[in-house]
Structure formats: C-alpha cells, structure tokens
C-alpha cells in the first residue's frame, strides 16, 4: 500500500494523462488501470476558457489529481505552475518536473532541488521527478518531499529499468516512498520495479501508445498487483546452482 501525505492508495500504479487519442480513451484506460492517482500537465489544461475536456470526466471518476509542472525549465517557472495548480485544482499535491532539455526531457537535479525546498516551505506535498541519483534522492527527502520519483529510463522511451543499479540503492536508502517514473515500457517492467521494492510506478506512454490502450492499462494493473504480491510474499534469492526441490540428502533426516 502506498501512503502519501497520510493518504493510503490501494493501487501501486499512477497514470499520466497525455498522448491519448481522445478523452474517452483516456477515461477508459484510467478505469481499466485501477489507478487512484493521475497526473496532468498544467500547461495542457485550459482553465481560462473552461474548454478543457479531460478535467471534468477525471473528477467524476473520483481519482485523485496530481498536477505536474511539465514544460518548466527553471525552478521559478515550476513555482508559478505549482501556485496555479493549487489555486485552480484545489490540491497541494504536486508532481515537480523541471526539464530544461526538450530533447530527452531529462530532469534538472539542481533546479528540482531548489524548487522542492521552496515548495515544501509553501506547504506543497512535493513528488519530484528526478534522475536516478541516490544522493539527490536523499537530498530531496531531506528537503521534505513526500516521495521521490527517479526515472527508469528516458521518459517515453519504453526501455525499462535501465538505471537498475541506482534504483536498488535508492530503494534501499529511502525513508519516503520511491515511485519509479519514466521509461517503463511493458507490464513486466512495472512488475520488476515493484518486486524490487518500489512503492509505486508511473506509466503513460506505454499505455497511451499501445495499439489497445485500455487492454494495456489492464495489463499494467495486473502486473502491478503481481509485483506487490511478490514483494510482500518475500522473493526467494536467485542462485547460480540448481537446487532440487527434493534434496538427495533427505534420508539423513530419517536416520
């Protein structure tokens, strides 16, 4: 179970809302995924003209909204987006995203840490998207972030847990939830992240770009459930040697 700011979420799957062919397809995927927390870009919402077609249906579904600061290249732009989100959507939860590099959309560790410190001071529940850097994740935790969201691979790349060695250290050291964000391309990647001990995963492209996004959302839901079960039941350690289920030396016990 994922606990953020005292709120318990039963699903370990967070969903991004971009890239879908229609609002209807998005809503169907959200429902199929079983997610209780969806992130949406402030830059995409048309609050001024009230012409947005995804906000109302998401609110009707009853999923919790996690506004994000996508598009921000600096801490000050992210702060602006955060205040706008809090005012417009009535939530102090925020996915902090600062990527000055529009090509690979990699998060800026320096600006992210600066913005996180300020946002925590201003009363936000901050979930920062960040590089898979164990030291940075501890720093973000010390800054008061409610979770850390290191990347598995470049966003949208579907490459899976390319940063595995660093993620293992981050999970081992964290005292806040670790949510693996970005790069997960298949349900098996999500399952692997949760087996490793991540508290949750965030997925968007793998679902939205699938030939059948709703079926893929179901696949991710099941994989996340499998991953959580596996973690809780205690995974057996891998070993290079074969171990017989019925050892040849069992006779010794009867002697």
């Amino acid at each position: 179970m994922l606990t953020l700011d005292g709120v318990q979420l039963n699903s370990a799957l967070l969903l991004g809302t971009g890239k879908f062919a229609s609002a209807r397809q998005l809503i169907a995927a959200v429902e199929a995924s079983g997610t209780e927390l969806v992130t949406l870009a402030m830059k995409r919402l048309d609050l001024q003209h009230q012409s947005d077609d995804i906000l109302a249906p998401l609110q009707q579904l009853g999923v919790r909204l996690l506004p994000n600061t996508s598009g921000a290249k600096t801490a000050s732009e992210a702060l602006f987006a955060a205040e706008l989100a809090r005012e417009a959507l009535g939530t102090n939860w925020l996915k902090l995203e600062i990527h000055p590099d529009p090509r690979y959309l990699l998060p800026d560790p320096i600006e992210t840490l600066q913005a996180a410190r300020e946002l925590v001071k201003r009363g936000f529940v901050v979930l920062p998207y960040c590089p898979a850097d164990p030291v940075l994740c501890k720093r973000l935790e010390e800054a008061g972030c409610a979770a850390v969201m290191p990347l598995g691979a470049p966003i949208g790349s579907n490459q899976g847990l390319q940063t595995l060695a660093m993620l293992e250290i981050i999970i081992e050291q964290a005292s806040v939830p670790v949510i693996i964000d970005a790069g997960l391309g298949a349900p098996s990647h999500a399952c692997q992240a949760l087996e490793l001990g991540a508290s949750a995963v965030l997925v968007n492209t793998a679902i939205a770009s699938a030939a059948d996004p709703v079926a893929m959302a179901t696949g991710f839901r099941l994989a996340c459930e499998a991953g959580v079960y596996a973690r809780h039941s205690g995974l057996a350690a891998a070993c290079t040697q074969a171990q017989a289920s019925s050892p040849l030396t069992r006779f010794l016990e009867t002697l």
């Binding site: 830059k43 995409r44 598009g71 732009e77 987006a81 706008l84 000055p100 090509r103 579907n158 770009s209």
Partner: protein
C-alpha cells in the same frame, strides 16, 4: 558571439553535397532505416533515390517514432497576418515590394478584432506573420502589438524578418514562445537569384539567425526550406546539417520544421525544382527518424487529401482555417493573399477529421509563464 552556422556553411560545397546525396545504395539505406540514432549520412541515405523502394517501411517507422514521442495528438494553430508590407524583393512571393498589391498594416483595434475572431474558432496558438519591413513593422510595432495579442492565446509564434539577439531577448519577455526563420534555400546562387533586394539579400544574416535565437534562449526555433527553389535533396541535407548543429549548440531550445513547397502566387514563377508528393513524404519521414523530438508542421498550402494521409504519419502541428492576408479573419476578408491555400476547411471541420483519424486535436499545450 562565437561563429555561427554561417561559418560552417561557408566550409561546405553545394556540389559535393549534391553528388553525395545521390551516391547511396539500397543497402546503405536499409542500414540507416534499421538504426535508432541516425547521423547526417543516414539521413541522406534515406532521402536518396536508392531509398525509394523502402518508403512504406520508412513511413511505418516514422509513424511509430511520432506516436511514441508525441502520442496520438495533433497541435492546432492558425497564422495571424499583421502586415503585408515588405522591403524585400523575392521573386516567388506575393508580398514582394514590386508587387502591385494593396498594402496594409493592422492597427491595434484591428489586431484585437482578428484575435477575437480566431478565439471564437477555438484557436489558442497563433503564428504571427508579417512581411519583412524593418522600418515600418519592426520592434516598435511588435512592442505595441505583442502584449495585446498575448492576452488572448496560450502560445505565440513569430515569423517576421530576422532580428538581433537583443531583440529576441526582448521579444521573449514580451511573450514570444517560438520564432520561425526559414532559410528558403541553402544554395548561394539560387538564394541570390531569388532574393534581389532588401536585408534578405544578405544570406549570412539569415543563416546565423537561428544562432541568435538560440543564444537569446528562445524556447522554440523553427527552421525550413522553401522547396522548389533548388535541388531538394541537397537543400534537405543542409537543413538537416543545420538542425544537428543547432541541437548540439542550443540544447535548451525545441526545434520545429516546416516543409513548404513553392506555390503559385500573384508574382507567378515557374517552379524550377518541384518536390513531388512522394518525395515530400520521404523527406518528412527521414527527418522524423533523424530527430524523433523534432516538431514538424504542415500548413494549409497542402491539399486536404495529402494532409489527411501525412498528418497521422509524422506531423505534430498543423494549421486550419488559415487566412494568409492581414485582416483576413474579420477585418477585411477580401484582401490579397500572400499565397493561395489549398485546404480551406474550418478549424471545427478539421478537428472532426483529426478525430476520425484517431488523433486528438490539441489547442493548448503551453502557458504564458513558460520560457520567460
């Protein structure tokens, strides 16, 4: 400022690139098609005559790259023409100074009327276009008009004469998110032949313009060629070279590509190097593979049948319901066009078509506080 692309361009030989762009084999094209990270030579192989049999595969891969990066969406924008005054003489353009057309510069009140008309159509991203007339439609005019326009839209793009780095810094503060400066052609002889007078005759000032935009930190830089003026493969090779150079040097900017083909206008010239539909598709798909994050836009210069096929493959933003004359939306719908358009569908109709094609039309994906 360090030496810009002009210096790099001066070291290149058009003739060498022309020969090179035809020298690739089918095997080399296949190899390029199989790669995930392409270099300039791979790009050239994909636009070469040898690659033509691979076009269906190239298109499939381009579509896959586009969907993965941009999703199933299409950005919508509309051009907003503010003036058709021009101090240049470009022999293919209906706005050229020697053209006997009624000249017009929109006033603040007229600009407001045009903005409201566009908003009514659901347009939230505009491309502001003027002829190139530094003296009458320069920074003082932009300083006056941009804040008025800014209030109405989430994203402002600008297509005007090349300006200085300092001007671009100021324009950014005034709310400009993107600047488009098309080179028209990278072949010096052709460039000089078609650009007879005015600031535009200075090829170096134009070639270094994207460098000035990058240095000024402009969020999105639009580049392009007017296909038809010179050999398309060679122009495309230079354009790709320019793109790779810019991405390397100004890594914080986004890039957008336009691929206009020369069209009949009221000036009327023969098109010396026509770019066919097939080659246009090949070109666009090759650019998608070269740069998966590149935004590619397609204007209403192209006809609906082609747009409806091409948009789902590799296009990320397109215009609809465009008027290419100052005041054309509401103030003076009868004025003369810069060029005639082929896709006259309204934004509402175009949105409907996009949805049928499985694409979500997106009017807003930006905010005025970003990139300042």
């Amino acid at each position: 400022m360090m030496a810009g692309f002009f210096a790099l361009w001066q070291q290149q030989s058009w003739e060498h690139q022309l020969l090179q762009s035809r020298s690739y084999t089918l095997a080399q094209a296949r190899q390029a098609l199989g790669k995930t990270r392409l270099n300039l030579q791979d790009f050239q192989a994909l636009i070469s005559p040898a690659a033509e049999p691979l076009l269906p595969m190239l298109a499939a891969k381009a579509q896959q790259f586009t969907r993965q990066r941009f999703g199933r969406i299409q950005q919508l924008f509309a051009p907003l023409y503010l003036s058709n005054l021009c101090a240049n003489e470009c022999s293919y353009c209906g706005f050229s100074m020697s053209q006997k057309v009624k000249r017009r510069v929109l006033s603040a009140e007229e600009v407001e009327i045009e903005c409201l008309a566009l908003r009514k159509c659901g347009i939230d991203q505009v491309l502001i276009v003027t002829g190139e007339h530094e003296r009458k439609v320069g920074m003082p005019y932009f300083r006056q008009m941009l804040p008025l326009i800014r209030r109405h839209f989430s994203s402002l793009m600008l297509e005007v004469q090349p300006l200085s780095e300092a001007d671009y810094r100021e324009l950014r503060q005034l709310g400009v998110d993107a600047v488009m400066v098309y080179q028209e052609t990278y072949q010096q002889a052709a460039y000089q032949r078609y650009h007879l007078k005015g600031q535009k005759a200075d090829i170096g000032w134009r070639l270094d313009c994207p460098d000035r935009l990058g240095s000024a930190g402009v969020d999105k830089i639009g580049i392009g060629v007017l296909f038809g003026l010179a050999d398309w493969r060679t122009d495309a090779s230079f354009l790709a070279m320019h793109l790779l150079y810019l991405q390397q040097h100004y890594w914080q900017s986004r890039y957008s590509l336009s691929v206009p083909r020369i069209r009949p206008c009221s000036g009327g010239i023969e098109v010396p190097y026509p770019l066919s539909d097939k080659h246009l598709v090949q070109l666009i798909c090759a650019f998608r593979l070269l740069s998966p994050s590149l935004e590619i836009s397609l204007s209403t210069r192209e006809r609906p049948e082609l747009r409806d096929q091409l948009v789902p493959i590799a296009i990320t933003s397109s215009s609809a319901g465009s008027s290419t004359r100052p005041g054309g939306y509401a103030v003076d719908p009868e004025a003369l066009e810069q060029f005639s358009i082929d896709d006259s569908r309204s934004p509402a109709l175009y949105k409907q078509r996009l949805q049928q094609l499985g694409l979500a039309p997106v009017s807003k994906d930006w905010e005025p506080y970003l990139g300042r």
